[in-house]
């Protein structure tokens, strides 16, 4: 019997701990497939964050290094500078990358560090129980913003892709989502392009993936996908924010 | 047993630190024990500067000089500040090109050296600190004149080799002030 689909070699057999309807699993799969297709699994070191994906070091079938909260870009910098021929990626959530680790991601981009960051933006702190994230939408409820994020008190959500796209050292920045098969295919293409540009030594690359958190949003998986499309996409527009290959082609 | 605790103080830019390192290098090449300790911090960015040099033929106990056996005062604030600290019977070298007062102390040996006037006569204001060093060597006998000149030959090479001679003259003119 012909095999038409199987799990990527880029993932281990460890059972994922993610909640039903969470899109972390899809993004893990896309990264794993990309590493497998580019034939770099044996040459890759991934950096796991602190947050829901803290156990990522058990799921990816490559060498992994778990960082302190927010410090993944610094750890990845250390690894990539020592092993410049290797493929290095960080996998970070919005609290990790856009709050406690803002300095690290900005400066990694500034230096043009040649690693790839997969940024999971689900507008909430998942692991610690639904607290407000820097990307929480105005009016969105969180356990530390029970009446909803108040713009007067907390300002508006931060758009990391747009911000990092202003930095010369960034080679490729795109925001995608995985809410539909078509979007998943687009997301896969984006992730692959980022790793290819890393391999080509072009600079810092980041793919921001708008993701769901049904558990902390208090929605069913299907409702969560709809909520993301209706609320997050308008606040965090999808698209390519920086692509030095396009600029070079001009 | 020789144990010289030297404090060199002045404005930033007067060559205070390099006078100290020159003495330290020369002492090391004579096989003596030596330490050099600078003041450091914001005051180094253009304000007053000082460094402590200890030269000894025995183990150096502490690089900190609180009661110098010799004070080299390149400006008035330094003389005002450190004159009282000098050990009785010690030396105070006064840059009297810009310090217009005499010593208040009578229990120390005073050496007045017009470093800037001599440097001007030699045609290079930057050798003023070498004038002072020449006086120090002559008065104390702590270092040999030839050692310092040999060191200058190692420092000034290539395009800067011509600077050896003017520095040597500066040392000699300083020595003549003693």
């Amino acid at each position: 019997m012909a095999i038409v689909y199987q799990k990527s070699k880029g993932l281990t057999d460890v059972e994922l701990h993610y909640c039903p309807g969470c899109t972390h699993g899809i993004v893990h799969k896309l990264v794993a497939e990309t590493l497998e297709e580019l034939d770099v699994l044996g040459n890759t070191i991934g950096v796991a964050p602190v947050g829901c994906s803290v156990f990522a070091y058990k799921y990816f079938n490559c060498d992994m290094h778990e960082a302190a909260h927010g410090r993944a870009p610094a750890v990845a910098t250390g690894i990539k500078r020592v092993l410049p021929e290797h493929i290095v990626f960080t996998y970070q959530g919005d609290g990790d990358l856009a709050a406690i680790g803002t300095a690290e991601i900005v400066h990694a981009a500034m230096r043009g560090e040649k690693f790839t960051t997969i940024f999971i933006n689900n507008a909430i702190y998942g692991m610690t129980g639904g607290q407000m994230a820097p990307t929480t939408l105005v009016g969105q409820r969180a356990t530390t913003a029970p009446l909803g994020r108040d713009r007067e008190h907390y300002g508006s959500p931060i758009r990391m892709s747009e911000m990092l796209a202003t930095i010369d050292g960034a080679a490729y920045i795109e925001r995608v989502t995985v809410t539909t098969p078509a979007n998943i295919i687009k997301a896969k293409r984006a992730i692959k392009k980022a790793f290819q540009l890393q391999i080509a030594g072009k600079g810092f690359t980041m793919i921001e993936v708008l993701s769901t958190c049904p558990t902390n949003w208090g929605l069913t998986p299907v409702e969560a996908l709809e909520w993301l499309n209706n609320n997050m996409v308008p606040a965090f527009p999808l698209g390519v924010f920086r692509d030095i290959t396009a600029e070079e082609a001009k | 047993m020789a144990y010289n605790e030297i404090l060199i103080a002045g404005f930033g830019g007067q060559g205070v630190m390099s006078m100290g390192t020159t003495m330290a290098e020369a002492a090391l090449s004579e096989g003596l024990n030596v330490s050099w300790l600078p003041s450091y911090g914001p005051e180094m960015r253009g304000g007053t500067a000082n460094c402590s040099v200890v030269i000894a033929d025995s183990e150096i106990i502490s690089p900190i000089v609180l009661q110098p056996s010799e004070l080299i005062a390149m400006n008035l604030p330094s003389l005002d500040k450190f004159e009282p600290a000098v050990k009785s019977g010690g030396y105070i070298f006064v840059n009297n090109s810009i310090i217009k007062r005499k010593l208040a102390r009578t229990d120390v040996k005073a050496i007045y050296v017009p470093t800037l006037d001599i440097a001007a006569e030699l045609g290079n204001m930057r050798v003023a600190n070498m004038v002072m060093l020449g006086s120090y060597i002559e008065a104390t006998g702590v270092l040999k004149f030839d050692t310092v000149v040999n060191m200058l030959r190692n420092v000034f090479t290539g395009k800067k080799a011509h600077l050896v001679e003017i520095n040597r003259q500066a040392l000699q003119r300083g020595a003549a002030c003693v």
């Binding site: 281990t12 699994l41 044996g42 040459n43 890759t44 070191i45 950096v47 796991a48 803290v54 156990f55 070091y57 058990k58 990816f60 079938n61 490559c62 060498d63 992994m64 290094h65 778990e66 960082a67 302190a68 410090r71 610094a74 750890v75 990845a76 910098t77 250390g78 690894i79 500078r81 020592v82 092993l83 290797h86 300095a103 690290e104 900005v106 400066h107 230096r111 | 390192t21 330290a24 290098e25 090391l28 024990n33 030596v34 330490s35 050099w36 300790l37 600078p38 450091y40 911090g41 150096i60 106990i61 502490s62 690089p63 900190i64 609180l66």
Partner: protein
């Protein structure tokens, strides 16, 4: 080999390069900025990596990454910056990776002063960050000793897979002294392989993970106990100290780093007055040489033990543990950038002896 005059901070950097260090991450802070400055110029000449990070937090996490990737790596800072590094040090200890961390101490707390201090003794010897861990801490007393201990620091870091810290007051970083390069330089290519490093599976071995997360209480307990067993081995095997004239002494000074020099000066002044004083100098302040100090203090001749420190009295806690109440222990010191004078130390000694 002939002696050369070296500034302390530059000697630290050169010694690290000679010890085979090829990777440095750091951030400027007085009074240690000459270390990153020297590294920025000289590391590239030996094919090494120098990177000025955006913060001390980032620097120590770069060290964490580079060490995991197998590099012989170092960072340096001064007291406030070392506080920022504590998070990373805790992770490196738990993940069991080697690194050398230099602290050229200035006065605290807070922004404190840039003048020399030994105010970080507690921080260095009690862990400093969160959780149960220790780091080996060398406390050299002069530039020659800094240089001599650098290679040992990297070797012990590799041997025990943990950070080794070298702490000294800012004066040692800023001063110049003659240095003799006694040991031949280490070629990093000759160093033993690090099979635990994450350098890619090459499709040959199972994926490795460097991490410090043990969410199951049993696994976490086992991990902590295993780390502790390592620390116990180090306490048994790696204590270092130096004694000077302690035999049959009437009074024992205990001091680490620069104050040990002042204590020796004070001992000589006391000798002129017919009082025999010796100096016990821990070279490792963790593991602390408790037994050796007890032996010295317990001699019948000894009437008092005086610690000399550039802080308000931190090592005195370890001295009391060592002496076990067998002799009175007192303290003399200055904090905040002032250095005690030999005369002040002499006065404290006489007071301790009731004279």
């Amino acid at each position: 080999m002939a002696k050369e005059l070296w500034k302390g901070n530059e000697a630290i950097a050169e010694a690290a390069i000679r010890a085979g260090c090829r990777c440095y991450f750091g951030y400027p802070i007085t009074p240690q900025s000459e270390i990153p400055e020297y590294m920025s110029l000289h590391m590239p000449k030996v094919g090494g990596i120098f990177l000025q990070s955006e913060s001390e937090v980032a620097a120590i996490n770069m060290v964490y990454g580079a060490s995991g990737a197998g590099a012989r790596v170092m960072t340096s800072s001064s007291s406030p910056g070392i506080s920022l590094k504590q998070e990373g040090i805790s992770y490196i200890c738990s993940a069991e990776l080697p690194a050398v961390i230099v602290n050229v101490m200035r006065g605290g707390p807070g922004l404190g002063t840039i003048q020399p201090s030994q105010g970080d003794y507690f921080q260095a010897t009690r862990g400093g960050g969160h959780g149960d861990y220790r780091v080996i801490v060398f406390a050299p007393a002069n530039i020659q000793e800094v240089v001599d201990l650098m290679q040992d620091s990297f070797e012990l870091a590799d041997k025990y897979r943990m950070p080794v810290m070298m702490i000294m007051d800012g004066m040692i970083g800023q001063m110049m002294e003659p240095v003799e390069w006694k040991k031949p330089p280490v070629n990093p290519e000759d160093l033993p392989a690090k099979p635990w490093a994450t350098t890619g599976t090459k499709g040959i071995h199972e994926p490795k993970a460097i991490h410090s997360l043990f969410i199951d209480p049993n696994e976490s307990n086992d991990h902590n106990m295993r780390l502790d067993a390592k620390y116990q081995r180090i306490m048994a095997d790696e204590q270092r100290y130096e004694t000077s004239e302690t035999e049959d002494a009437e009074l024992i000074f205990v001091a680490f780093g620069t104050p040990a020099r002042l204590a020796r000066a004070a001992a000589r002044l006391l000798e002129e007055e017919g009082i025999k004083a010796g100096v016990f100098r821990p070279i490792t302040i963790w593991p602390y040489p408790y037994d050796a100090l007890y032996q010295a203090a317990a001699q019948d001749s000894v009437k008092a033990v005086v610690t000399v420190e550039m802080n308000t009295g931190q090592m005195i806690d370890d001295v009391r543990i060592a002496v076990r109440g067998c002799k009175p222990v007192s303290f003399v010191g200055q904090a905040g950038g002032r250095v005690p004078t030999p005369q002040e130390v002499v006065a404290a000694a006489k007071s301790a002896l009731g004279r």
